[in-house]
Symmetry: C2
Subunit: 452 residues, 2 copies
């Protein structure tokens, strides 16, 4: 008999891991609710016609495809079979695939249900996604995303609220974070003024190395990417951009004076900073021009959250996109959204030991089972304790005390109740604190009170 | 551009549907917790070697199989390809499948993690499963199961607790139910005394028709299934079994006097009824010999829950199995479990309109947006309202009042706050009750108090 296992890159979650994950999901969910976001869910399987071509060629390959049920080879000629073209073959025998992210299914949802929705539509979605990536440390083939998006509104107030949401979530977790911000229009403006529209990625990658390799080497790298001396000269104030967000904005306004798009991006950022200044946002907010995530995708604000006390990649990211649903035939729907990385948040909370004690508590009280008579006596008593909301177990069998106590220990149950012959006579419960070892007789009412 | 759609048999869940489903899942979850059950999750994809052969030939066909990523045809000869044997072909190009239920993955989990678990292990699991069934009304290709099982304990106290759990869940839902019970050993005993071990299903099917077709026709049906006259005679007290559970048990003890197994089943049932009598279980408990679900699978108690006020199939079911993990090489692990049918519970709650009002409430309060100045004034005010835990929105754009009120209406937001020029001067908020239409000026403190 083979030892059972699960597919590589997937995970089982134990009770303790689930308690931690539920704490994460519930915290994020509560904050989304506080801001009027509503939950939706979409099916794990989407039609491949919905998914293909949305994530680039590489993404098409990384989609998990589901073999058509019944005779999957029906209608395929021998020639096609023997051609052995993997992608073409997959397209013939598979109509469905597992969702790759929550964004494309959301876009599909918005278009499909456009007449039932009222816009602006604020939705959140917490579901697993699947990618046939090569598994490695911290990268899984099945993982959860926690997305929040507002679609159908151009207002920058939505960006402000998403910043508040990120701030609130990390405050509740007790994780100190920096929210880095950029704007796609500023990057476009920079490309515009130096006349090198296609070099934006090279430029942000080079600037990102300033601290590590110094200005001379950054400029050398730009030269190696065939930027003109004139362009590099114009870039100097941007490469060396520093100081407060307001100081950076002042410099950008000067440098980007010749680009309408660039100035619009600066104005958007400035508006957001102005609004946030009216609020008590605890997270550090930082204008970071090297932020270039989802460059082909985002059209305005770009966000990324970094944990300050743990070395780990970004734990939340997002931005504004101008035409989410265009690919499904519904134009003019702008949106802005963020995605919390549950797996990384899990790691950060573990490393900093930030889980609140009560988030991990399962059973609060266990009654020891001394035998048939005691068990019958205890049943209605245990029921009344549960009716008071106390999570209670009675050990199901009258086995050795040591085994029962071992069970309570392994499950980290903080209190154990002992009711034997004499306690039954006296109408008392011997309540044992499993941490201090202290033991004392109490009535049912006293026991219930003790848990309040 | 094609109109986007989702695979047949799958569903999108709208915000209102999600609120209802979350109410269902949270209620079930809370009750499982109250009894010391802990949550686990397993991956959507399992190795096909884990799933195949566990659900019969039909089940093997209904498994959704996932095409191997990369070159799925590598290593397959031309001859094998041209053989066009669907199942054999699937086995060559697919290593993984979507889980078909939560029981087999749970058995795999228990065996794989046996050294990390402490037994008895009480776990619950709420996750979707996938079946390539022909979709029809009420039958989906993706649906959730909510399973609770205790493994590693033979004690009948577990059966008693599962009855309490089912009772508590349906009390919380406000659904009046009957919990029907049977025992596999009683059915085996009946087969034993009439000497027709393989006719058990025919017998229960025939007995089930008593009310509809009458005794004569039931006996005729048994004859048509080639039961001997002697066997049919012996079956008469069983076919006509009626009265209270205790009366039924008395008859069964007589009829099954010659079958050790049968009497053991009766004793088990009697023990469970005795224990339940000590408790205040509200659900009707009924011994029902026609209950024969999972006959090849269950070895002791069999449960089924029927809603009393809605015509619908069973809404929860379960039973005891003696060797859950044997198929994965770990013998001697007995278990007992139940599974709540979330989709049917959803339908019952809808039909009886039993959703508590606050389970459907999303945003509690919306601030109207009158313009830039008002928006800037409102931001810190709205933040303080949210800090008091009130789920609050501010409309993101200063569009026409009618549109903003329409949004609040569509989202069923019960209160709308208006803060214009004069309210700003007076430091007041004009609070409008969207149901009564009543409107009155309040301070922030009064507003927060009003929501408590």
């Amino acid at each position: 008999m083979q030892k059972p296992s699960i597919p590589k890159g997937t995970r089982d979650f134990s009770p303790v891991e689930m308690a931690k994950r539920n704490y994460i999901f519930n915290t994020i969910r509560d904050v989304y609710h506080l801001y009027g976001f509503q939950q939706i869910e979409t099916p794990a399987m989407e039609n491949l016609s919905t998914l293909m071509g949305k994530y680039g060629d590489e993404g098409d390959k990384l989609l998990f495809k589901i073999l058509n049920s019944g005779d999957s080879l029906a209608g395929i000629t021998d020639e096609e079979l023997l051609e052995r073209n993997p992608l073409k073959f997959a397209a013939r025998v598979c109509e469905k695939g597992l969702r790759y992210d929550l964004t494309v299914p959301f876009a599909r949802f918005v278009v499909q249900h456009r007449n039932e929705l009222s816009f602006p539509f604020k939705r959140y979605q917490i579901q697993p996604v699947w990618r046939a990536d090569r598994p490695q440390k911290g990268r899984y083939r099945e993982f959860y995303q926690c997305d929040g998006d507002v679609v159908g509104s151009d207002s920058l107030l939505n960006e402000v609220e998403l910043i508040q949401i990120m701030d609130e979530v990390y405050q509740r977790f007790g994780i100190r974070v920096s929210i880095k911000m950029n704007n796609r229009k500023i990057l476009s403006g920079i490309a515009e003024i130096i006349g090198e529209a296609d070099k934006i990625v090279d430029i942000t990658v080079a600037i990102d190395k300033l601290d590590k390799i110094g200005l001379e080497n950054v400029n050398a790298e730009l030269r190696s990417k065939e930027l003109s001396e004139e362009a590099i000269a114009k870039l100097q104030p941007i490469i060396q951009l520093s100081g407060t967000n307001r100081e950076k904005i002042a410099v950008l306004k000067e440098v980007l004076a010749g680009s309408e798009t660039g100035l619009k991006g600066v104005a958007e950022l400035e508006f957001i900073f102005d609004r946030v200044d009216l609020l008590t946002v605890k997270a550090e907010l930082e204008l970071d021009l090297t932020l270039a995530r989802g460059l082909n995708y985002y059209t305005g604000a770009i966000f990324e959250v970094k944990a300050l006390d743990v070395q780990i990649g970004s734990i939340t990211g997002g931005g504004r996109y101008d035409n989410l649903t265009g690919v499904f035939g519904m134009d003019g729907v702008s949106g802005v959204g963020i995605s919390f990385g549950a797996d990384r948040i899990f790691d950060v909370l573990n490393q900093l030991e930030l889980y609140p004690e009560d988030s991990l508590l399962t059973t609060q009280l266990m009654f020891v089972n001394f035998g048939e008579k005691e068990e019958a006596y205890l049943l209605p008593l245990v029921a009344s304790v549960r009716a008071a909301g106390i999570r209670t177990e009675i050990y199901p069998e009258p086995v050795k005390m040591k085994k029962q106590m071992g069970y309570a220990d392994a499950k980290k149950i903080p209190f154990v109740a002992l009711v034997g012959e004499s306690e039954m006579t006296e109408g008392k419960i011997n309540l044992k604190n499993m941490i201090t070892g202290e033991q004392k007789p109490v009535t049912v009412q006293e026991l219930i009170e003790a848990f309040k």
